[in-house]
Symmetry: C2
Subunit: 585 residues, 2 copies
């Protein structure tokens, strides 16, 4: 049986074990084929091949509902539901996304589920719908790859354990999150593995679930046997599956963290095809940590499972020792630990990915902002150029963070300003400071960068002109500069402003613009609604100034080309300049 | 020993058990004294008296850190740390808030912790700070009253279980959340209670904690003995305490849900002093459920532990049967179950309190908004008049919800519109609809209320005038009407607009205002930054119209008087009218 000929799960129902094993080999090759060329989640997908083959062999999708949490392990599911071309042929790669996608496959992909941990709660909803409609099918969640550490996963275990109908949770235990797993429960999983699932103490049973253990999760025959047994069960059951992350590909088995997600690489060596050794904002952040840990020996650095994003590889983490804590995929806890440690009187830095910080909105508000807990929150992967999957957009952090009182949100425009802001933030004891790590392009300051930001919401005029004011924030400051140049070339004399702060406005500076300006333009690399520019528009509403807000629209966009989307949103320098001129008329 | 003479925990250190028991009796009376007169959390505080006496007897606060989760059970802590007057004397009630408060007591109150569940994560932060500073003291969290069902509590158990120093979690198991507890783990807690803590299966041990069980949690002698044993322990330990919610007050023991939080009542009978039997928005919601459950027999109604807020008492919940699910204090799961059930093809309504919905920002974005999951989210306790504790403000829901794509947020202005919007929302299959339940005052429509809202962001002109346009949203529509009357009395002819939608703007209507208006005023009962008015200001920025935004400032305010705060924010009708006229000049 050739992988390319599989058009639906029906095509594997009558295959014998040897053929399924051969198919697993083809699927692994296809995973490597795709990810080595365009990048992607390597380890999670390699580890889950047999589990997913068994799921489709035993259950009857789409009647039975197969849900993935997180769906970055679902490549095999896509290959078995008519989308193998997206892994086999380069010209078809773009047709298939990284995550499950109900638009891509309304029949087989139930949810987007790009973020970890909610699958069991979503499945409780599916189960309630099934039962209320009097239907009768299996609901199966494949949970794992660290997803169990997120709070909502436990809530889902709790809610699921109280159901009295069918609900099957396959817990893919590959002993890893993105980095290694952290937390007390992982010793318990070790205990379960070492006792072949017979330990008297059992987390899943404590939540009310039945429990089955499978030691050989990469053995398709064993997986089929176990799933046949739990199929149509009338009570929630956890199938705890021991798998090897990166199974079948030596580099991914050895370097499990690096192969969680990998940019294009050589299949032979596993080495990256393009190594960017140039200057980077990550380098600035790393240097900031290095110099401050010397100054503050009791400083705490927090990560929630993504330390490599912030330049902290295994070596650096080992060196940091007790000064470093990885709370696992658990951003609520990341923020609360930050607030608690700050209250305990030490310097604290929490580095987090913008899209995942969404999970901690309430902790930002109630545990951090409200309290007197000066700490530094470094927000990564922000704006249009960071991550282009709709489930991982970096568009929403400005509206989210700047709607919360007391949090100062700084948007540095270049390497020097980023370094200066981080340094100011750690060395002061008054404010709760978030810093938006730039992404778009590595820039250098052509003005003198301030070292003190304690005078909040003080915008910086980097070019004094008249008639037109351009307030361009963060990594879009350079865009403002480009617009400024275009206007100068047409004989105008614009004012250019780097606001530095996106959580408030410089009231005096804005009011002073009234005297000799007509149009105020804001440019930000984030969603407009609830963002920075609307604060400016709201503040200037009672003046004769026109205010033009440029930024991203409140829309989900998926796997877009950055420049194309910018054009659609009128954000290219020449478009912005043209709009300004139109409004001067 | 008289309670009034206790000025610090030192004052109880040398008391004998009999005196402590007498003190417990005095503290109970003081709790009833306060709550019966001004309302408050009755049951949680009555149940925790002995536990907290033992905590202060055994541990040495403020050196040892005592953290409360949720702090609505912490009245006894306040009484033992110099704040007994706030419970004994009516004139001092206002000096003491409902929750722990570092401003009220910087020494003894470590966090605000008005929301449930993050205490263990906060304590992990405190523990890291202690260890990095080389200090040596106990860190003790009193967790309970349902707080364990929130996801971050499990994350905290996970992070805490991996520590290798002192951390003590006192789990106050009173078998209740706000309503009864829900979820699979509660059977497990029953098992632990029934085996006197000896069951082989143990959730806390699975997370890596040591474990001690106390059957008689309302026995101060037993509690002291146990806490003496765990004091200075060098490994995280859970002390599972079986208590009686409402202990010592018959009505609260019998009606545990009603006495979780109680408005002023007669101590003798337990009956409420003022029963409002008049018309209410809750009544509208209840009627909406009643009529639609008949129409859609497979409809699902979700609550996260606050069903009484939505008119669902024990009787109604029983009648609803399988059509009702309480996911416990777990709003992330509330939203995910809503999305999952909608994806499963049934009608779904989730009723949730604004401030608690903050916990589910990521689920709103990733699980609900992104997917095609039409459902109805009813948001309660919104705006300035709902809850005046800074930890429970209803100010933030408009910025939070309206920064998320695809979610339609409706703000009804009166009883008829609320009913019509709920009905439209449940009967359509296109949109994900949130409805902002009005709070401020029960109003009736003096215009014809629409039944169809599928033409999104269509504002309604209820009075056509000129020069001045007043766009007044939701329960502040009536405020706009008052302003309109004031202006009419001065000879002006304002346009009055009910936007109905706060998640977007009526572009055509707004552009048309340019022709014969000069000033556009927005009025909303929510935070301005990121809110509705700034969308209007941003949209009209390129027009000559002046835009004035009225609403709440981005500030934490605590236990305020509504009218006083309105005055401070310039929100009284005469203030708004004056500001408009000033801008007409």
């Amino acid at each position: 049986m050739e992988l390319k000929d599989i058009k639906s799960p029906q095509d594997i129902k009558n295959l014998d074990i040897a053929t399924l094993e051969d198919l697993a080999g083809q699927m692994r090759k296809a995973i490597l084929n795709r990810t080595s060329q365009i990048g992607g989640h390597v380890g999670p997908n390699l580890g889950a091949v047999e589990t997913i083959i068994a799921m489709h062999y035993v259950f009857d999708a789409p009647k039975d509902k197969l849900v993935y949490d997180v769906s970055h392990q679902a490549f095999s599911h896509k290959m078995l539901t008519g989308r193998a071309d997206g892994y086999l042929y380069k010209e078809d790669f773009a047709k298939v996304g990284e995550y499950t996608d109900p638009k891509e496959s309304p029949e087989y992909d139930i949810f987007y589920a790009g973020h970890t941990s909610p699958a069991l709660s979503l499945c409780v909803g599916l189960a309630k719908a099934r039962d209320l409609k009097g239907e009768n099918h299996n609901i199966v969640a494949l949970v794992g790859d660290g997803a169990l550490s997120g709070g909502v996963a436990f809530e889902g275990l709790d809610a699921g354990g109280a159901l009295d109908g069918n609900l099957i949770c396959i817990f893919n235990d590959n002993q890893m999150a993105i980095a290694e797993n952290h937390g007390g429960m992982y010793s318990h999983f070790t205990e379960l593995r070492e006792t072949n699932g017979t330990a008297a103490n059992n987390l899943f049973k404590a939540f009310g679930w039945d429990y089955v253990y499978v030691a050989e999760g990469n053995n398709v025959k064993k997986m089929i046997e176990v799933l046949e047994k739990v199929k149509d069960s009338k009570h929630p059951v956890v199938v705890h599956v021991n798998t090897q992350k990166g199974e079948g590909y030596a580099p991914a088995e050895e370097y499990r963290e690096r192969f969680h997600y990998r940019n294009p690489y050589s299949i032979g060596s596993g080495n990256l095809l393009n190594i960017d050794t140039g200057e980077s904002y990550t380098g600035v952040f790393k240097e900031f940590l290095k110099s401050n840990i010397k100054k503050y020996p009791d400083m705490l650095i927090i990560s929630s499972a993504t330390p490599e994003d912030f330049g902290l590889g295994p070596k650096e983490r080992k060196e940091l020792g007790a000064n470093y804590i990885d709370v696992a995929i658990a951003e609520q806890t990341g923020v609360s630990v930050m607030a608690g440690a700050a209250r305990g009187g030490i310097k604290v830095v929490y580095a987090v990915v913008s899209t995942f910080l969404q999970r901690a909105y309430d902790q930002l508000m109630e545990d951090w902002a409200m309290d007197n807990s000066p700490a530094v929150l470094n927000v990564d992967s922000t704006g249009i150029a960071a991550i282009t999957d709709q489930t991982h957009l970096g568009f929403w952090d400005i509206p989210m963070i700047t709607s919360i009182p007391e949090v100062v949100y700084l948007a540095p425009a270049n390497v020097e300003e980023y370094a200066a802001m981080l340094d100011w933030a750690i060395n002061q004891n008054q404010h709760k400071v978030a810093v938006r790590e730039p992404v778009y392009s590595v820039e250098h300051a052509d003005y003198e960068v301030d070292t003190d930001y304690s005078d909040l919401n003080r915008f910086k005029v980097t070019r004094q002109g008249k008639e037109i004011a351009i307030i361009a924030a963060g990594d879009f400051y350079v865009r403002g500069k480009e617009v400024c140049e275009l206007l100068k070339a047409k004989g105008y004399d614009p004012t250019l402003i780097n606001p530095r702060f996106v959580s408030g406005v410089d009231e005096k500076l804005l009011k002073d613009l009234v005297a000799d300006h007509k149009v105020v333009t804001t440019i930000e690399d984030g969603s407009l609604e609830g963002g920075f520019g609307q604060k400016v528009a709201g503040f200037l509403g009672d003046t004769p100034l026109k205010v033009l807000n440029f930024g991203l629209q409140k829309k989900f966009v998926d796997r877009y080309d950055v420049e194309t989307l910018e054009k659609e949103y009128g954000l290219r320098p020449e478009q912005i300049a043209a709009t300004i001129l139109k409004n001067l008329e």
